[in-house]
């Protein structure tokens, strides 16, 4: 498929997605909404993991920061949801850049463990009711709904559309990233850091930026998550969630937009389908994960040009 | 019976046909050189003989044993050692550990002599026994790779561009030593870009072009053959 053909297909699929609430019942609409949200987080994880090649296994932190910022500003300080979005993005991005400072000095698995560490610290901080703002283990409940021109986005379908539109925006950004010098610099660093620096790539700057952008987008998704569930609590941002995000990127295909979305679908929607297996569900799921990797080591839908 | 007999060997990388049916024989105590441009398939041939690649067709027979589908480790045990392209030394092991690994298939008691021989051939290795191989200079690593292959005391020695990255004086030394090694009963199959030196050393030579042998002849003949001169020896133009 040529680049423009695949783009057109992408746009068509996205438009079709707008009609989901018409055909699905509300349980599946909420599955679709949460898919869109996790899709954004997974894409943002892909910037760091799949594109820059940094083994970030603490991405739930930035997702959580976004969700908590919205929850705190909305519940405690009564801000309208839409107004919290820039702050959710900025604070998450700032943390991304801040944590990147130590992280990017580490390589491979050492980075992975350090990022797990940050995730554990984050969850504990939320549980310990940091500054009396995060609500401890219960988290924060009663998050309101956003309203657009005075109309509340309240129904399940309306929320889904909101999530879907944001996903659309993020998809456009990701596609632009692919064709931009910044996106390429990430790939240079991933494939050979020394070679990249000797052609003039500033590794610290580019990696920090990757963390900041990835974190910012995850923060944006955090806002949507808080709105969707109307409650946030530390358990939604545990390290195991980061592991899932990590797996999504690898299962789908690193650096591949359709791949990551497909990975999200597989890792997230498939367990919903597996519900009938009851307690066998994750046994089957674990087996499926192995099978997918063995059959498609490059991911379900590898990046174009990647080793087949 | 030849020591090594290869018939109609075909090797693919996915869709790419790297060897399209090559046949070759090497007699005991012979030195055979393989020439060819970049990408002709020389390395592919060497890797296939050693069992690192599995051919799509054809056969490789060593001392009467069909080794076409044997695992690489089994082939080493039969007496074929290789100094591979790209050196492939064990970077985080010391020079000494690398050399000992070369003799992995041999009983521990027998390696002392080979070790002396190798360290004498490459004094730099003796000076740097404890250095991690990965921190050696490119040429030093190349010496190590050759030395490591010799440690196996093979009956057939495969050398893939042994002179790569070595100083002229070392190259001269190596080619001299190879002659001695061959005289001591080791058969050598050598791939070289330094065609002139290789042909001077070798008994026979083959020229490989995009996956096929196009010429096979006596080394002396090849050295003077106009075709080979034009294609691989660069004539006398730059000698002035």
């Amino acid at each position: 498929m040529s680049a423009s053909a695949s783009r057109n297909t992408g746009i068509a699929v996205w438009i079709l997605g707008l009609f989901l609430p018409v055909v699905l019942n509300s349980a599946w609409v909420s599955v679709a909404a949460i898919f869109a949200i996790y899709g954004i987080v997974a894409l943002s994880e892909d910037i760091i993991l799949g594109r820059a090649g940094m083994f970030d296994m603490g991405h739930a932190v930035y997702f959580g920061i976004g969700a908590y910022v919205t929850a705190i500003l909305n519940v405690t300080f009564d801000w309208p949801i839409f107004l919290t979005i820039p702050f959710a993005i900025l604070l998450a991005a700032a943390f991304g850049a801040l944590l990147a400072a130590p992280l990017i000095r580490l390589r491979g698995d050492y980075l992975l463990v350090a990022s797990i560490g940050f995730n554990a610290i984050f969850v504990l901080a939320m549980q310990n009711n940091l500054f009396g703002l995060t609500g401890g283990s219960d988290g924060i409940t009663g998050i309101g709904v956003p309203s657009l021109f005075g109309l509340p986005i309240e129904s399940q379908s309306a929320m889904y559309w909101l999530d879907w539109v944001v996903l659309g925006i993020v998809l456009v950004l990701m596609r632009n990233l692919d064709g931009s010098e910044f996106g390429r610099a990430l790939r240079y660093l991933k494939q050979d850091e020394l070679a990249a620096t000797t052609i003039g790539v500033n590794p610290r700057k580019v990696k920090t930026l990757a963390f900041a952008i990835g974190a910012g987008l995850a923060g944006l998704a955090g806002t949507l998550f808080a709105v969707q569930l109307s409650t946030v609590s530390p358990s939604s941002f545990k390290f195991t969630e980061s592991v899932t995000l990590f797996a999504i990127v690898i299962v789908g295909g690193q650096g591949s937009i359709p791949g990551v979305l497909l990975g999200t679908a597989l890792m997230f929607v498939l367990p919903q389908v597996f519900r009938d297996f009851a307690q066998y569900r994750y046994l089957v799921f674990g087996f499926a994960m192995i099978l997918v990797m063995v059959l498609r080591p490059q991911g379900l839908w590898p990046r174009r040009g990647a080793r087949a | 019976m030849s020591l090594l007999e290869i018939a109609d060997l075909k090797v693919n990388y996915g869709q790419i046909e790297a060897l399209k049916g090559v046949s070759l024989r090497v007699e005991t105590r012979e030195i055979v050189a393989i020439l060819g441009a970049n990408g002709a398939g020389k390395t592919t041939l060497m890797r296939t003989i050693s069992g690192l690649l599995t051919p799509r067709g054809g056969s490789i027979v060593f001392e009467g044993t069909d080794i076409t589908r044997l695992g690489a480790d089994r082939i080493v045990r039969l007496g074929i050692a290789q100094s591979p392209e790209g050196r492939r030394v064990f970077g985080t092991l010391s020079v000494m550990e690398n050399l000992r690994l070369g003799a992995f298939t041999r009983p521990a008691g027998e390696v002392a002599g080979s070790l002396d021989f190798v360290l004498q051939m490459f004094p730099r290795l003796a000076e740097r026994r404890g250095q991690l191989a990965g921190t050696m200079s490119g040429g030093e690593q190349q010496m190590l790779a050759i030395g490591r292959a010799l440690m196996a005391k093979p009956r057939l020695l495969l050398l893939d561009e042994p002179s790569l990255g070595l100083a002229p004086i070392i190259v001269q030394g190596i080619f001299r030593t190879l002659r001695e090694i061959a005289n001591s009963g080791v058969t050598i199959l050598i791939v070289e870009q330094n065609a002139r030196s290789a042909l001077k050393l070798a008994d026979r030579g083959y020229v490989l072009e995009v996956g096929r042998f196009v010429i096979e002849d006596d080394a002396k003949t090849l050295l003077t053959s106009p075709e080979v001169q034009a294609a691989y020896l660069g004539g006398e133009r730059r000698k002035a």
Binding site: S137, D138, S235, A278, Q279 | -
Partner: protein, 357 residues
């Protein structure tokens, strides 16, 4: 209407809380089977729909919608407060009764009419515990230990509040990491503070180990555990060290004095060849029984009627004792007791003093 009456179970069938979740599922299905064997309710069969929320908020929200779509009139669950919280507004909006063992105050704070907590609220247990610690045992130096779960921190905080209200002294509030098994560091620290009682608000799998490790470290303080410590495994894990541990709870599945409870536990064991994992299996069973009773009494499956019935009934004869629900859906009136674990692992009620005869 005809067709079966659908009841939902939203519980963690997989994941870290799988034993509790599966226990709830089994209990509810058992009750439904028993009722169906008797001809069902209002002449209709009961059908149980189960949804696994893994104890996660995002899954809980999906489960809630799923069960609502399936047309359930009431849902038992979930086990964790976090999952219950995420599902609560969805059930409320769809007018589906939700009865769960969640005890977080936040579950009550939104005033949903559909919510019915089936476990005793922290406040009641905390009040009883403080009274026992201060007025009955006269402990002077009490250390409080908890894990980071919403349930345990909530209970610990309530207990601390009540101890202070009773003019008792809490010398330290310390935390363990649930499941980490190695609690000697924090216990060593507490030992140096010379407490005469250590109150632990978390779960039995940790509580049993804490009791064992206290013995190993030579800590003589009395162990007092919150309701989640009541599990047959507590005594087994603590082994010989279990003796003398005090556990505060409504009586547990095995010890429940009420005949209905005994019969239920027997039926459960007969059907599943294992004991219910904890008392929460029974509190959730009580939730199911209350819903069934409401349907029977009101001869209706209309949520409004059922809710009204449940909010106003004077007393419900639960497997876990007599109780009722106030207008917030909080369980009121629970027969808390303090047990002492005996050398043979059995429980003896030590407070309130058992009535003679």
């Amino acid at each position: 209407a005809s067709g079966p009456i659908k009841i939902g179970v939203q519980a963690p069938i997989t994941g870290a809380y799988a034993d509790e979740g599966q226990g709830i599922e089994k209990a509810v299905k058992l009750l439904a089977d028993q009722q169906n064997a008797k001809g069902g309710l209002l002449g209709r069969k009961i059908e149980v729909k189960v949804c696994d929320d893994e104890g996660k908020a995002s899954q809980a929200a999906i489960c809630a919608r799923q069960l609502v779509n399936d047309g359930v009139i009431a849902v038992i669950g979930s086990y964790t407060s976090g999952a219950a919280l995420a599902a609560e507004p969805i059930y409320a909006r769809s007018n589906v009764i939700q009865t769960s063992d969640g005890t977080s105050n936040k579950l009550l704070s939104r005033g949903y009419k559909t919510w019915f907590g089936n476990a005793a609220p922290n406040s009641a247990e905390a009040k009883f515990t403080a009274k026992y610690l201060i007025d009955v045992r006269h402990f002077k130096r009490i250390a409080v230990l908890t894990d980071h779960s919403s349930f345990a921190t909530g209970l610990a905080d309530a207990v601390i509040k009540n101890i202070k209200a009773d003019h008792g002294k809490v010398i330290d509030k310390a935390f363990i990491t649930a499941g980490s098994q190695n609690f000697t560091p924090v216990l060593t620290k507490l030992k140096a503070l010379k407490p005469d009682a250590i109150y632990f608000s978390g779960y039995y799998s940790d509580g049993g180990l804490i009791k064992a490790q206290m013995a190993q470290l030579g800590i003589t303080a009395t162990f007092v555990g919150g309701d989640a410590n009541q599990n047959v495994a507590f005594g087994k894990i603590a082994g010989s060290a279990a003796k003398g541990a005090i556990i505060v709870n409504v009586p547990g599945p095995e010890q429940l004095p009420y005949p209905t409870a005994k019969a239920f536990v027997a039926a459960y064991k007969a059907k599943y060849h294992q004991s219910p994992p904890s008392v929460f299996t029974l509190t959730n069973a009580d939730g199911m029984r209350a819903v069934m009773q409401a349907i029977e009494q009101t001869k209706s499956v209309k949520p409004a009627k059922l809710e009204h019935y449940l909010h106003t009934m004077k007393s419900f004869d639960g497997l876990t004792g007599q109780f009722r629900w106030n207008d917030k859906g909080e369980r009121v009136g629970s027969p808390f007791t303090a047990f002492e674990v005996q050398a043979d692992g059995s429980y003896k009620i030590v407070y309130p003093a058992p009535k003679a005869g």
